[in-house]
Symmetry: C2
Subunit: 95 residues, 2 copies
Amino acid sequence: MTSSDLQEQLNMKALSLLQEDADKIEKLIEVQMENLATRYCPLYEEVLDTQMFGFSKEVDFAVRAGLVNPLVGKQILSKLERTLALLYEALNTKE
Amino acid sequence: MTSSDLQEQLNMKALSLLQEDADKIEKLIEVQMENLATRYCPLYEEVLDTQMFGFSKEVDFAVRAGLVNPLVGKQILSKLERTLALLYEALNTKE
């Protein structure tokens, strides 16, 4: 394997790990969205904030380690933040 | 550059980034240790816990991405946890 093949492979691996973790958080958000009308758990916000913080640290590390393009890292985070904002908006409308 | 050179370079980069972040947290702990007698800030514990959580996510990611040996990752975390435990012990003795 050439070094550029290896770099590409490591970059793809890093990206797929981040996507995996982003999907997990998105799933958490979806579950809360679905349960909006029935049973809202106030701890959910804290859990989501903590998960988002941990995830931002991962993305940041991947960028600093040279595995993920800074712009791509920013996009992954923004997408998740937008989804989270939708949940909070829905929560506020409900109140 | 051969692919094994590149892998080694990326691994060293990842390790030095982790060490850099561990040092920052250790510095936070030291500051609190030094101020134990004079001005204890209760928010410090929360800040340290949050930083530790974020750091553990970084280490975890570096291991999953194949940049850091799982055992080495564990050692870096344990070392920091021991330092933190010393601080908490000192806080309890003071109370």
